[in-house]
């Protein structure tokens, strides 16, 4: 009897040791992982002479002037303006994606029509299509339409459901909704539009939120498309403004440069904290990438 109890104790102890070791391991990985973010924040507040001479993470005093310099923006365009430009593109993209992708998804998930199978297969295939394959002709089209150096090439495609990822995500979600609801509404005399608007769409909210969050963050982070289409500094986004620092190898500008970097990721961080529950769930269920 005594031996059994001590055996149990040993087992329990061993399990506890294993759990502690696991947490230590996880926290160690996390520390390495989050170090660059801590470094970014610390460097944005460092005086210029401490950036290189000191390996210490924390600055000796907080150099807020880095932020006042950053707020001036670049080439006469203030950071407020840059942020508003980014916001305009991101919000426009969110509206476009939520509307166009939910419309297409409803058709694929609930309606019957000719060529449904092939069209669905094609939609899936476009998820794999590299952006670069259509980039140049799209540029030529927008150039012919006089839309280069406007926000249209960045926002308009979203209203045409070009990001098939989100169509697929919403289809998967709608397929999980009970069909009995549609049937009941149909028996009550609702047409497909009424069913979509009053029955299916409200229930699809979680998938729409996931779509909105990812669209916002992706458009906010986007660089390539903005680089190609935007030339006027007045129309620059915060990402394009940061590009000005890319070819500078001197460390003297580190303070203001990383202050601006911090400012540029604040909206993403806020989004992340506000919606992290939806985000990670959405990721796991759809297999979407960030």
């Amino acid at each position: 009897m005594a031996t059994t109890v001590s055996n149990l104790k040993t087992t329990a102890n061993r399990a506890r040791t294993a759990a502690v070791a696991k947490h230590v391991g996880l926290l160690a990985v996390l520390l390495v992982l989050l170090y660059p973010l801590a470094w970014l924040l610390a460097t944005s507040l460092k005086p210029a002479d401490e950036v290189l001479t000191s390996l210490k993470l924390l600055p000796s005093h907080l150099e807020w002037s880095n932020y006042t310099t950053a707020l001036d923006g670049i080439s006469g365009v203030s950071v407020t303006r840059l942020l508003l430009n980014s916001l305009l593109i991101s919000v426009g993209s969110v509206i476009g994606n939520v509307i166009s992708c939910s419309l297409a998804a409803y058709a694929f998930a609930r309606l019957r029509f000719r060529m449904r199978g092939p069209m669905f297969g094609f939609m899936i295939a476009t998820m794999m299509l590299p952006h670069h394959a259509v980039l140049i002709p799209q540029y030529i089209i927008f150039n012919k339409l006089g839309m280069v150096d406007t926000y249209w090439p960045l926002i308009l495609p979203k209203f045409l459901a070009t990001e098939a990822f989100f169509v697929f995500l919403i289809v998967q979600f709608m397929r999980g909704l009970p069909r009995e609801l549609d049937e009941a509404a149909r028996i009550d005399g609702c047409g497909p539009f009424r069913i979509f608007w009053s029955v299916v769409l409200p229930l699809t909210r979680p998938a729409l939120i996931t779509t909105a969050i990812f669209t916002f963050i992706w458009s906010w982070n986007d660089f390539f498309t903005q680089l190609i289409y935007l030339f006027d500094p007045e129309k620059f986004t915060i990402t394009l403004a940061l590009r000005n620092f890319v070819d500078q190898s001197s460390t003297s500008a580190y303070g203001p440069m990383f202050a601006m970097s911090v400012i540029s990721i604040v909206p993403i961080v806020l989004f992340f904290f506000a919606f992290q529950r939806y985000l990670v769930q959405g990721m796991a269920t759809s297999g979407l990438k960030g």
Partner: protein
């Protein structure tokens, strides 16, 4: 056809004209819902792909009309452009290093997290955070600074006697900075691995334990085969995305593929040819080769998957 409950499946062909009309009436609303998507497919995907294929056989600088040159862009690319092959090599090296590293980290941490009860949500979110930030210009600039001459990583390595002089300025090492930045974002595939791990029935592990299988054996004989479809999914997605890496390559190379063209990734060179040098025809040819290459790699992955991906319930 009188009640909604007995509607035929979509594949059934309508027999009578009346039924055919009814079918068409039912298709109508669907096409209304689909119209933005169809417009997008035609105007922004299919037509551009066709135009891009045509342009790839021409000389085109956006101003003068395209001039037909046959296969010259392709033959120049393959036989007379060392920069092209350099960019292919850089990109392949990057894919081969970044994708396995990222997936190994994702799987390793997912396995650690699986049995964790405390603070699981916190860990999941914290590990996931880099995946949201990693594509931004800010973080690319941070990595450039960390791996620069005198940056934190350089100093750390120097303190243990390894002197690199900064990875960013070393033509042999710069590409690995981009790869490490990609690996840093392992949270996204990790979340998918976690979801996959939850699907594995616990009784499989109980049965294996009863048969005397240790932790390693259970991992190899239960976890890996059961998880192989998820591994495959992540592998395909990450590979396709890695071929298209742009922002970090742009930032870490200083915007020009440096040092010594060592970080001139395929997409960077494509951008340079098309938008800086205005050789739209050449860039279109490059885009089509990229498309075909990604298609070929995906096809190869699918082919090999038959021998290592295990589906527990075939046909489901």
């Amino acid at each position: 056809m009188t009640t909604t409950a007995t509607r035929p499946p979509a594949t059934t062909t309508p027999e009578t004209p009346r039924e055919r009309r009814a079918h068409r009436q039912r298709s109508g609303p669907a096409y209304v819902f689909l119209s933005p998507w169809i417009l997008g497919v035609v105007l922004l995907t299919l037509a551009p792909m066709a135009v891009s294929l045509y342009l790839s056989f021409t000389d085109y600088d956006l101003f003068d009309p395209p001039k037909w040159v046959g296969l010259r862009n392709y033959s120049d690319m393959f036989t007379a452009d060392p920069r092209y092959w350099r960019s292919v090599g850089t990109t392949l090296l990057y894919v081969v290093v970044a994708v396995p590293l990222k997936l190994a980290l994702a799987l390793g941490v997912a396995l650690l997290l699986r049995g964790t009860r405390r603070a699981k949500g916190f860990y999941r979110s914290a590990f996931y955070a880099p995946s949201l930030l990693g594509a931004s210009m800010s973080i690319a600039l941070v990595w450039r600074a960390l791996y620069n001459d005198g940056g934190t990583v350089d100093e750390l390595l120097s303190s243990v006697g390894i002197h690199t002089g900064g990875w960013v300025s070393d033509p042999h090492l710069a590409v690995f900075v981009v790869a490490l930045l990609s690996a840093w974002q392992f949270g996204a595939p990790m979340v998918i691995f976690l979801a996959g791990l939850q699907q594995i029935p616990a009784d499989l592990y109980e049965a294996a334990a009863l048969d005397g299988a240790g932790p390693w054996r259970r991992f190899v004989s239960v976890t890996l085969p059961m998880l192989s479809p998820v591994v495959f999914f992540n592998l395909v997605l990450e590979t396709i995305q890695s071929f298209q890496v742009f922002t970090p390559a742009y930032a870490i190379s200083g915007g020009n593929g440096g040092p010594a063209d060592s970080t001139e990734f395929y997409t960077l060179y494509l951008y340079e040819r098309g938008f800086s040098a205005s050789h739209m025809g050449y860039a279109s040819a490059m885009a089509w080769v990229l498309l075909l290459a990604i298609g070929a790699v995906t096809l190869i992955l699918f082919r090999t998957s038959r021998s290592w991906v295990f589906y527990a319930n075939e046909g489901a």
